[in-house]
């Protein structure tokens, strides 16, 4: 059974009745297996938050079905073992950090001593024990986000759905969240999170879901994406003579000058870099360094998400 499943989900939205309708999510289907960390990526307006809200029952799909642990997402019980953090910490400002968590615990059916123990543990886990009695409105955005995380940890959920959870966090907060994600994943929990911080995707995710304009571009492991990002090899050499440069150019290699004394010979991924190395060696050229040239994840995911569709289909 999949942790999350979207089946041909379409959401048509309209900001106001006088504004035109638009398709926020377009026949989107994907699944997220149980356990592990899955990134949810796409440019602004791709439909990530809309999809997450539909999973949480905050929005109703225009067409299609969504399931959490096999239970239809419009049934409140589907969220029994689900925790959520939004980009903005949505907390009651009149409560203290502790009261806020007690409220969350109570709503999950945890009361009395059990609630108190769970709240203390959750606050300690997010390094907020010192702010236990501070009113929420006096906490910084980063601290509020950590409080949201503490709230998410209550009730021992199996699935964590986070919408840009790192937003507003300082570097320490981000490190804390990353280690929490890894801790939770190591205990078999499912973490599905949207983010624009591609570094987090690279470091945390075993697989990702990429959407663009409400449509699925990719759903699968990270490895093929990183392989797709391999553009070729850069060979750094001292400035080459014109005759040799022309010969290499004719063979399909690209030569660009780097500084006053160096050339970079680019070997596209469809050509063999050892062949270029042999030519250079035969001409007595000393190779300074060799590096892999990668297309940035940002380029792949945001500027040309369609390119992912090819590997997804294959």
């Amino acid at each position: 059974m999949n942790a999350l499943e979207l089946v041909s989900v379409t959401k048509i939205m309209q900001k106001h009745f006088w504004t035109p309708k638009f398709i926020a999510v377009d026949a989107l289907s994907f699944t997220v297996a149980q356990g592990g960390i899955v990134g949810f990526v796409g440019p602004n307006g791709a439909g990530k938050t809309t999809s997450i809200k539909m999973l949480l029952g905050l929005l109703a799909p225009t067409k299609g079905s969504l399931y959490i642990n096999g239970v239809s997402a419009h049934v409140p019980a589907s969220r029994k073992k689900v925790a959520f953090i939004a980009e903005q910490p949505y907390l009651y400002a009149h409560l203290s950090a502790r009261e806020s968590l007690i409220l969350s615990a109570n709503l999950l059916g945890i009361f009395g001593e059990e609630a108190t123990t769970a709240v203390v543990a959750a606050l300690e886990r997010v390094d907020l024990a010192s702010a236990t009695n501070k009113p929420v409105k006096e906490l910084s955005k980063g601290m509020q986000q950590r409080l949201s995380m503490a709230s998410a940890l209550l009730g021992n959920p199996d699935i964590f759905i986070f919408d840009e959870p790192m937003s507003g966090l300082d570097p320490l907060g981000r490190t804390l969240f990353r280690s929490l994600f890894l801790d939770l994943a190591s205990t078999g929990k499912t973490i599905f999170f949207s983010t624009h911080i591609l570094d987090d995707i690279e470091q945390l995710c075993q697989s990702i879901v990429v959407i663009s304009h409400g449509k699925l571009m990719y759903n699968g492991p990270m490895k093929p994406i990183l392989e797709l990002g391999f553009a070729g090899t850069d060979i750094h050499v001292p400035l080459l003579a014109d005759a040799l440069a022309t010969k290499l150019f004719e063979m399909g290699f690209t030569l660009t000058q780097s500084g006053a004394h160096d050339h970079i010979l680019f070997v596209p991924k469809n050509l063999d870099p050892t062949h270029a190395q042999k030519i250079l060696y035969d001409n007595g050229i000393f190779i300074t360094s060799i590096q892999r040239r990668m297309t940035s994840l940002e380029d792949l995911l945001y500027r040309s998400p369609q390119s992912l569709a090819s590997i997804f289909v294959s």
């Binding site: 409140p76 959520f84 949505y90 009149h94 409220l103």
Partner: protein, 254 residues
């Protein structure tokens, strides 16, 4: 039931901190106390003027509280999305609406009770008697407030905070002038208009039923049947508006 109580408690603790609540309460209390001097300018007995003025002030203050606290609290919570803290939990949404309603009612009725207390102390201080009529009138104004809160929640579910406040005020006005919807006047000219007015007449409660100030002032008591049926009438409309609000909120994209 536990969940409703938790949401009610949270709503109460949130709304009781609202500054508007204290502003309206302070203003109403000041008017009730100041109305002692109004009696001297009137041809009627001082206590009668005080009773009339005090009950009217409580009714208007109740409306203001219901509009500003009711619409403001729920509307703002929907717009600012703090409701996510509760709505992403495995709970049916109607519990949220009912919990909010009960929490708001608890706050407003507490404030109303304090206003009534000041009003009663003032009456006694002027040498008047606390009659059953006064108690009944206060009860019915309380029920009227409960209807207004339910309506403000209903409008908050369907529209923006500002529009919900305006609609609730409009509802209060129409509710008090419901008697004037003299359908027969239009009967011959336009059957569509007649139908529309009949719908308005049925859907919007006649809030004048809750206004028994004249009877209190002139000492003509209200029958227990009238009081009972008016309370039931009010509670029926509260249920009706809450069912509509719950239904709307359950389908609402948030």
């Amino acid at each position: 039931m536990n969940t409703i109580f938790i949401i009610t408690k949270n709503t109460f603790s949130e709304s009781i901190r609202n500054k508007i609540l204290y502003t309206i309460f302070g203003f109403a209390a000041a008017i009730i106390i100041l109305s002692i001097s109004f009696g001297e300018w009137s041809v009627f007995a001082r206590v009668q003027v005080m009773e009339d003025f005090g009950l009217a002030t409580m009714s208007i203050a109740g409306l203001m509280l219901a509009v500003f606290i009711g619409v403001g609290l729920l509307g703002r919570e929907i717009e600012s999305k703090t409701s996510y803290a509760i709505l992403v939990k495995p709970l049916p949404r109607y519990l949220f609406v009912i919990g909010k309603y009960l929490g708001l009612c608890a706050t407003l009725l507490l404030t109303f009770f304090l206003m009534a207390l000041i009003f009663c102390i003032t009456i006694v201080w002027l040498g008047g008697a606390l009659t059953m009529g006064i108690a009944t009138s206060i009860l019915l104004i309380g029920i009227e407030m409960m209807i207004i809160v339910a309506v403000s929640i209903l409008f908050s579910v369907y529209t923006t905070t500002t529009l919900a406040a305006l609609f609730t005020l409009g509802f209060y006005c129409i509710g008090h002038y419901n008697d004037l919807l003299d359908v027969s006047v239009f009967e011959k000219s336009s059957p569509i208009l007649v139908l529309l007015l009949k719908i308005v007449y049925i859907v919007i409660p006649n809030l004048e039923h809750f206004n028994i100030r004249a009877a209190v002032i002139y000492g003509s008591g209200m029958s227990p049947l009238y009081i009972g049926s008016t309370v039931a009438y009010g509670l029926l409309f509260v249920t009706f508006f809450l069912v509509l609000a719950c239904n709307g909120f359950s389908r609402k994209d948030i």
